[in-house]
Symmetry: C2
Subunit: 421 residues, 2 copies
């Protein structure tokens, strides 16, 4: 199979001169025949009025797309209050994740907190402890940047080979949004950090509080206190009215409903950074402070929830790549389980610490494929195989699985999650 | 007023040592006093569970943001079926416009057309007339790009000085989305353009059909046949499942529910490009083929729907700028009705033919202001005043008003739409 299409393969029907009399079309593997009642007869949508402009002040997706929704896996957690759901990445394209279907992770449910009730306290080792209202925060200089947010457990079930049937479930604990907010460093500088302050401890206003420690160096670098995502206010389930954005670092640190920022001389070593969000190694010890999400990628289509329906011929393979260390430099795609690789096209903007879309156009010969993608970031780091990861980290961990995913495309176009060695 | 904040102005409350006993805070013009019951007492949101992850498979904005919606102006058109509504740009930030509140313009209502019923015909002066199904189109190479879509009539009511009270109504016939789709030129090349083909005529599947002529040069350049916007399928009201994206050109040409692309040797001179979407000049003649949207900008906050509520001191002025000719090079802001100008900061990505966000941080002294913004694009073109436009084009036109907008900020922070000469 070649990277580019072979000449002569057809994506469409040909309206040949000889067909004017009404013959059906045999040429090509896809597409409409002419005469096609959908173009030769007047249809209701072309002869009746549609919806007026006052029908939907705030619109939702059309009913035909009702399958493109967040889904949870009931057996994954004891309760949906402290649980996660998954972005339908198999059905999305481009790089932006709409808020409406961007995954959620709550530790005690998504709370409803109004702007007027919102307060942010800054205390600890600061010159002047402060309390901000929502409106106060909007008076700091604003910044606009796009970042991915990935749960550290994304792909966690695949460590032991759960082989969930769909990119939504294997890789859907991720979203990518354009944030507008202020820099955490501007807020910290307003309070004034004492010389002995070395860590920041951030807490949410929900019952779990989900406290996490962040080294001051990161807090003073690119961390945002964000109010807007994809142009509008954050959604309730993503931390309305204010969440922390910690570019490139695991999603658990992106504290929602942000209520307190404390400066300390050491890390708090909270529950969320000791018994959780650490990586248990084969020797019984746990790696901690594994904040950065390493380079990773996945083919979103074809994939188990997005099989090939059009038969052989031209096929667009599409997927996502990302790295918490910076920009994606390159993505390779394999059709044969990693034996040979072809460089994919990176489509659209390539931003640091943000989802990057890749495409590879092939001419599918209709034979089975073992599809894989492999990301490389600007540091030169190359996404490893799952076996390479397991060799070092064993099977105890649920976090930081950035191993290469394999999809088995069958001759009938159906796709399954498999492992190759 | 300086571009940067003056030292000593306060955005926040100070938790001074002497306040531990419970004194209220007088320092600063904003913000919470401590003790503040919202941080010193346990609140329901911090002691009760919130929503589980299976509550909203596809989420909507939180109820507190129910004012951030599209609005129409009932007197503007005879019927809401052939009408327009407006993006709430006064309440948005960053650059992306969420689909749910992105303006709509229909000529015979928003139709419901499924992917299985969708057909695209390519005919006229082509070697091989073609009909594509939706799936056929997805087999062409995909592209991802962000563009603004602006109705030619955006600001049209302001030609004669309607002075509508809000950026949503004066400038809200615009949105900005990340599109994924295929290039029109790839589709045209598949059909093969005959040498005498010089124009493309595009039609929608709705009853209005909204046919428009596009010179072949543009059609073969950057025009997209798009399926996805902001990562997900187009919404019904934006042309689901397929719309044309004509970067930098007036929104009327971005044909929704795209059903036919015909190649001709001349322009069709349809209703939509003769009696409509032309600019009637003072001498009674009409400018036609005024496709490109010239450089323009508007301050979105403060603005009539987004007054200053926090009193004097630090104020973030924010707005949008765009040009159909390429990238925005610079935006200047005036606080005194255009007598003096300060260069604003361009925030986030600066993409060609896409909305660009600007910010200017000032220290407001509490006196009235006449706020203006002035965009310059990479060609060197500078946004004109409304009077400069009227001098040349008179008062007959409703289209292509890219004049500088003035907001009068009163001492109490309320804002009005005014004109200055």
């Amino acid at each position: 199979m070649s990277e580019t299409e072979k000449k002569g393969t057809s994506r469409r029907a040909i309206l040949g001169a000889g067909l004017a009399a009404g013959g059906a079309i045999a040429a090509g593997r896809v597409s409409a025949a002419v005469p096609d009642p959908l173009i030769t007869q007047v249809q209701p949508w072309a002869s009746e009025f549609g919806d007026p402009v006052d029908a939907t002040p705030y619109g939702m997706p059309i009913r035909f797309e009702s399958h493109v929704v967040r889904r949870n896996v009931p057996w994954l957690t004891e309760s949906p209050i402290s649980s996660i759901n998954f972005t339908p990445i198999h059905a999305l394209e481009g790089t932006i994740t709409p808020q409406g279907c961007a995954f959620e992770r709550h530790h005690s449910g998504a709370i409803e907190l109004s702007k007027s009730d919102y307060r942010l306290m800054v205390n600890g080792l600061v010159d002047t402890p402060l309390v901000f209202t929502y409106e106060d925060l909007t008076r700091f200089p604003r910044h606009v940047q796009t970042f991915f947010c990935e749960c550290a457990a994304n792909g966690g079930m695949e460590w032991g080979g759960a082989q969930l049937q769909g990119a939504q479930f294997t890789h859907g604990m991720i979203h990518n949004m354009e944030y507008t907010g202020v820099l955490l460093r501007d807020i910290l500088n307003e309070a004034g950090i004492k010389p002995e302050g070395k860590w920041v401890y951030v807490e949410g206003a929900d019952a779990s509080s989900n406290g996490r420690s962040i080294p001051l160096e990161k807090a003073m670098d690119d961390v945002m206190v964000a109010f807007f995502a994809n142009g509008e206010a954050l959604r309730k389930e993503h931390g309305y009215p204010v969440r922390l954005v910690v570019p490139g670092w695991e999603g658990n640190m992106w504290v929602k409903w942000l209520r307190r920022i404390a400066v300390y001389d050491r890390a708090v070593e909270s529950r969320e950074e000791t018994s959780k969000y650490t990586d248990l190694m084969p020797d019984g010890r746990a790696r901690k402070w594994t904040w950065v999400m390493d380079a990773k990628s996945v083919i979103t289509s074809p994939s188990p929830q997005a099989p090939i329906r059009h038969g052989k011929g031209p096929l667009v393979i599409t997927g996502l790549a990302w790295s918490g260390h910076g920009k994606i430099a390159r993505v390779d795609v394999s059709l044969d389980g990693g034996r040979t690789w072809t460089e994919a096209q990176l489509s659209g903007d390539i931003k640091p610490k943000a989802l990057t879309r890749f495409h590879l156009n092939i001419d599918w010969d209709g034979r089975e494929m073992l599809l894989q993608s492999r990301a490389m970031d600007e540091t030169g780091y190359v996404q490893p195989t799952k076996d390479q990861l397991r060799e070092i980290r064993g099977l105890n961990s649920v976090y930081h699985n950035n191993g290469i995913q394999t999809w088995w495309v069958r001759e009938d176009g159906e796709v399954e999650n498999v492992e190759v060695s």
